[in-house]
């Protein structure tokens, strides 16, 4: 039981302790890194416990679902928790690199762990309302992190981020209210049980569209993605990396969870919507990236385009498609966060994010060049890296479900992704360094703090790429248990299903 609560307790206590240790920066870092490491350990233990498809449930305060607050960890949640732990660990280490002192004095550590609390909370939430609460926790922490350096550009980007997210959250809350009004419950399992027999399916679908809008805004789906490149490129690098890795994917997680559990019976209505949204998100994101010459903006637009691949899973809602989406999410989080970490190091080496003012890194920092190549080629889907398997699974699922055009677009977008990555490679690494480039000196500690997480994430990408079998099998299990609604209902409600019926 403690294992299910641990992903919440660890970041909660870490946030509180680091807030207490306000003036003791060194102690804050020790607490921060050990909390992130324990989060990763707990995530891996949860994966081990759920890898056979079993679902772990605990009812907070012994109040049984659907009346109390249930925390549910199935294989999908466990995978997300483990990957969140890996991100937390990498970024915790990376945040000890350049500019760490100023960042920590501004309150990075408590905010970072509050963010992780919100993220982990969303992954274990067993009902829609708590999902909403954890989204709020996550958003409030992310507002603080986004404007950590208090520059004009950050406030500007932060305001757009705040505004769009507040609108999205309000729509979310309205949808929650309407859903409760119609079905009288917010527990996922109870919703999954009642939704197929609801009388007014039209209203239920309308509520689903509201959820789609609010989660889509968070996941940066077309046409609600404009805030993301505007906000992410202003954040300081560790913050941008954790945002890029995790935040949009929480939105994707919520979409997968809700639409696979509650709206699976209505796939005929939602499937085409998701298919179009996925296609538009992929295409517009990748075109946006092609037009830009600032590393952070290019990478931000690529987040958008990659989200489209994950949404294909919801559009098709077959087991293969969802497994592909889960594999893709895992690959994408690792690779994307890694690219942002590398971008921070490029900035450190060359003093700029603008590609025109970068160059010569292949000679100056060959290690960094390799650190860039692995995630970049993986993102573009070059075998044998993780991205190849992710894309392969998505495209194959598309062809199997006879959505040929969707599979075609996915392949085409992969080609354009390769173009963007080659652009960064040519400009920052390959071309000779521009005149008068001032090199910044690294201290040994900063170098280790920057390169260690990059190496860790590269190793993860290589592992997924070269030893795909267990990861694919795990994604398959997660997809199967996500689609097995009866098992989920039985695990969460047990006999309480009848009790709930009786009380109603």
């Amino acid at each position: 039981m403690l294992l299910i609560v641990a992903p919440l307790l660890i970041p909660l206590c870490a946030a509180a302790l680091t807030a207490l240790l306000r003036t003791h920066i060194a102690a804050q870092r020790v607490v921060g890194v050990s909390a992130s490491a324990s989060l990763l350990a707990v995530g891996l233990m949860l994966v081990a416990r759920t890898a056979d498809g079993s679902i772990l449930v605990t009812q907070m305060g012994d109040w049984a679902a659907p009346f109390g607050i249930a925390l549910v960890v199935d294989a999908f949640s466990a995978i997300m928790l483990a990957i969140a732990g890996l991100m937390a660990l990498s970024v915790s280490i990376y945040a000890m690199g350049p500019d760490a002192a100023a960042r920590d004095r501004a309150g990075f550590q408590p905010l970072f762990h509050s963010l992780m609390l919100g993220v982990c909370g969303a992954f274990v939430a067993g009902d829609v309302f708590n999902l909403y609460v954890w989204f709020e926790v996550m958003l409030i922490a992310s507002f603080g992190l986004l404007v950590l350096d208090r520059t004009r550009a950050q406030i500007d980007g932060g305001l757009r981020y705040v505004f769009l997210n507040l609108v999205g959250t309000t729509v979310f809350l309205m949808a929650v209210g309407l859903l409760y009004g119609q079905l009288g419950t917010l527990n996922f399992a109870d919703l999954a049980r009642l939704a197929p027999q609801a009388e007014n399916q039209g209203l239920l679908a309308a509520i689903g569209v509201m959820f789609l809008v609010s989660f889509g805004a968070k996941a940066a789906l077309f046409p609600l993605f404009n805030w993301l490149p505007a906000a992410y490129h202003t954040a300081s690098m560790p913050v941008a990396a954790i945002f890029a890795g995790l935040l949009t994917k929480v939105g994707v997680y919520a979409i997968l969870r809700l639409f696979a559990l509650v709206y699976a019976h209505d796939v005929a209505f939602f499937g085409p919507i998701f298919a179009w949204v996925a296609a538009a998100t992929m295409v517009f994101g990748v075109f946006g990236a092609a037009a830009h010459y600032d590393i952070r903006r290019i990478l931000s637009f690529h987040i958008v385009s990659q989200i489209g691949y994950m949404i294909i899973g919801v559009a098709l809602l077959t087991q293969a498609a969802i497994a592909a989406a889960i594999l893709y999410i895992v690959h994408h989080i690792v690779v994307k966060a890694n690219l942002f970490l590398v971008a921070g190091a490029i900035r450190r080496e060359n003093g700029s994010f603008a590609l025109g003012r970068c160059g010569g890194l292949w000679r100056a920092a060959p290690l960094l060049a390799i650190g860039f190549l692995i995630p970049a080629l993986s993102l573009a889907g070059i075998p044998p890296l993780s991205g190849f398997w992710g894309k392969y699974a998505v495209v194959r699922a598309g062809i199997e479900a006879e959505a040929y055009w969707l599979a075609g677009i996915a392949l085409f977008v992969g080609l354009l992704t390769l173009y963007s990555m080659i652009k960064i490679w040519n400009e920052a690494f390959w071309k000779p360094a521009p005149e008068g480039l001032a090199r910044t000196a690294w201290t040994r500690g900063q170098r280790i703090a920057t390169y260690l997480p990059i190496a860790l994430l590269c190793a993860t990408t290589m592992t997924i790429g070269l030893w795909t079998e267990p990861f694919a099998a795990l994604a398959e299990t997660a997809a199967a248990s996500l689609l097995d609604r009866d098992a989920y209902i039985a695990a969460v409600l047990g006999n309480a299903g009848q009790v709930a019926e009786f009380a109603r």
């Binding site: 039981m1 403690l2 609560v5 307790l9 909660l12 206590c13 946030a15 509180a16 302790l17 807030a19 207490l20 306000r22 605990t58 009812q59 907070m60 305060g61 012994d62 408590p110």
Partner: protein
């Protein structure tokens, strides 16, 4: 910023009265309207009066710890109130009760720890907010 004479003279009372009331509200909260959140807000009102009358610096001195530390202590206390349940009684946050008979039967439970945690967190949050706003204004 200088507060009126009336406010400065009555400020001590306006600090301690809401604080006493807030403790009452905190304790009655289990079965009646009240609890840690509203209690914490009431206590915050007392601190606001103090800060308006005497300025932000004396209020910080009165609090001794940094306001954010109150938030942290409160969160830790509330989180800790769920731990005893893990030793056998049930899931996390299952609250345990103990009824010692000291002339009258005192109902003691781990819920009060949780509520006290909420109370302290809210006091800390309110103090953090208004003290930072006040100090910004005087810059």
């Amino acid at each position: 910023m200088s507060a009126s004479l009336i406010l400065r003279v009555s400020a001590p009372m306006l600090l301690w009265l809401p604080l006493a009331a807030s403790l009452y509200v905190l304790l009655r909260g289990h079965n009646e309207p009240g609890g840690g959140f509203i209690g914490g807000l009431l206590a915050g009102v007392g601190l606001i009066f103090h800060a308006i009358a005497f300025g932000a610096a004396p209020t910080r001195k009165l609090l001794r710890l940094a306001p954010t530390s109150y938030c942290a202590i409160g969160v830790l206390l509330a989180a800790a109130s769920g731990i005893p349940a893990l030793f056998g009684a049930g899931p996390y946050l299952t609250h345990l009760w103990w009824f010692p008979d000291v002339g009258i039967v005192l109902p003691l439970g781990t819920t009060i720890l949780f509520d006290a945690g909420v109370y302290i967190t809210v006091v800390g949050t309110v103090a953090t907010l208004f003290l930072s706003l006040m100090e910004e204004e005087t810059l």
